[in-house]
């Protein structure tokens, strides 16, 4: 378990109409353990799918031996499973295309800039 969990909001009260969109929104609350911006902002989430209670997340890591891999997997899983409409989380590790800092979103860059980090 890593930091940032105290920033998680309460689970959604009702089943969202667009579940994929809702998953992306929920993932915005899951921070990278080392860089305090969200996993989507860091560009680590490549795809999201939902079918019959199963959330499937394609994610990558900044390095092939990222020491935070287990933290990230655990944080994603725990946050998504707190939603009553998600029964299971499948995490698919992907390396194509390779992550580079170019994948950090504009919003992510702005946040990093405010923290004095150039990306």
């Amino acid at each position: 378990m890593s930091g940032g969990r105290d920033l998680w909001s309460a689970p959604l009260g009702e089943v969202p109409r667009d579940r994929v969109k809702a998953i992306w929104k929920v993932l915005q609350e899951v921070l990278d353990p080392e860089i305090p911006i969200s996993l989507p902002e860091l560009g680590l989430i490549y795809d999201v799918a939902y079918e019959e209670g199963i959330a499937r997340i394609d994610l990558t890591f900044t390095a092939t031996a990222c020491p935070c891999m287990d933290f990230i997997r655990e944080d994603i899983t725990d946050r998504l499973l707190s939603e009553h409409w998600i029964d299971r989380v499948e995490l698919i590790e992907v390396w194509d295309p390779p992550w580079t800092s170019d994948r950090i979103t504009v919003e992510g860059r702005e946040k990093l800039k405010k923290m004095g980090v150039s990306a």
């Binding site: 390095a63 092939t64 031996a65 990222c66 194509d96 295309p97 390779p98």
Partner: protein, 262 residues
């Protein structure tokens, strides 16, 4: 776009050859990580030591991804990672012994890590879908290893004296095994070329020679005249020999076996 290899169509010999290729790369990466890690606290400067730690991390990440590629052949990687005796390790002969000095570490970075990258580059452009998806990230990380290794190689070569002599000795010791490995043209290697998993031995060697020609010339070596060692182990796909036992114990994680978490 290259058509992806259908693994279900492989003959037993082709399958064995592919396993040999993956394991020799994975074992080499794991051993490379061990050799680098030993110099985290012995490098010439704190900054260089930090780089060694970072490179160690990369090598073990690459090893993890490469061993995991065995799963695509319905092979459990765990026995390969944790249960083999040292005489079954397929890592490069350049990694068999702990580098005796910093010059030998620098030669490892440029020559051995460079040879692994040449083979990986070939694999990434071939028909093995899993490699095409995973290897580019490894190669991106390896760029920094080569940059640092080349800079140090030039520095030691230019400094002359004992530094240059040690670098020349390390280069001489490593190159024949590396040339033999990259230029392997036995039945297993040819089968990988035939199904498009790898480039030809000639192409791999030409790429490698282009990569290191300039730096090895700094210590008096002409890469185009270096011959591969003739003592070849076809089963493991490497020169005859094996890593020292302590390195094998560390690679397998013997001491922490009871704590193994997958």
């Amino acid at each position: 776009m290259i058509d992806a290899l259908d693994l279900s169509t492989l003959s037993d010999d082709q399958r064995d050859a592919l396993v040999r290729l993956i394991v020799t790369l994975a074992d080499s990466k794991r051993l490379m990580g061990i050799r680098y890690s030993d110099w985290t606290l012995g490098a010439p400067s704190i900054e260089t030591g930090v780089s060694m730690a970072s490179m160690t991390q990369d090598e073990w990440g690459h090893a993890r991804l490469l061993y995991a590629m065995l799963k695509t052949l319905d092979i459990d990687p765990a026995p390969f990672e944790y249960e083999r005796s040292g005489d079954k390790f397929a890592s490069l002969s350049a990694l068999d012994r702990e580098p005796s000095d910093w010059a030998a570490v620098v030669a490892l970075m440029v020559l051995a890590d460079g040879a692994l990258s040449t083979m990986l580059r070939s694999l990434a452009q071939g028909t093995l879908e899993q490699a095409r998806r995973r290897v580019p990230k490894m190669l991106a990380e390896e760029q920094y290893h080569m940059s640092m290794g080349s800079a140090w190689y030039r520095r030691l070569a230019d400094s002359g004296g004992e530094s240059r002599r040690l670098l020349a000795v390390a280069t001489e010791n490593m190159l024949p095994g590396l040339i033999a490995w990259l230029g392997v043209d036995d039945a297993a290697a040819r089968s990988m070329v035939a199904i498009g998993v790898l480039d030809s031995a000639e192409d791999r060697l030409a790429l490698y020679r282009d990569e290191v020609r300039e730096v090895v010339a700094l210590v008096g070596w002409d890469i185009d005249t270096v011959l591969g060692t003739s003592e070849w182990d076809e089963v493991r796909g490497r020169a005859v020999g094996r890593p020292d036992e302590e390195a094998c114990e560390r690679a397998r994680g013997d001491r922490n076996r009871a704590l193994l978490v997958e």
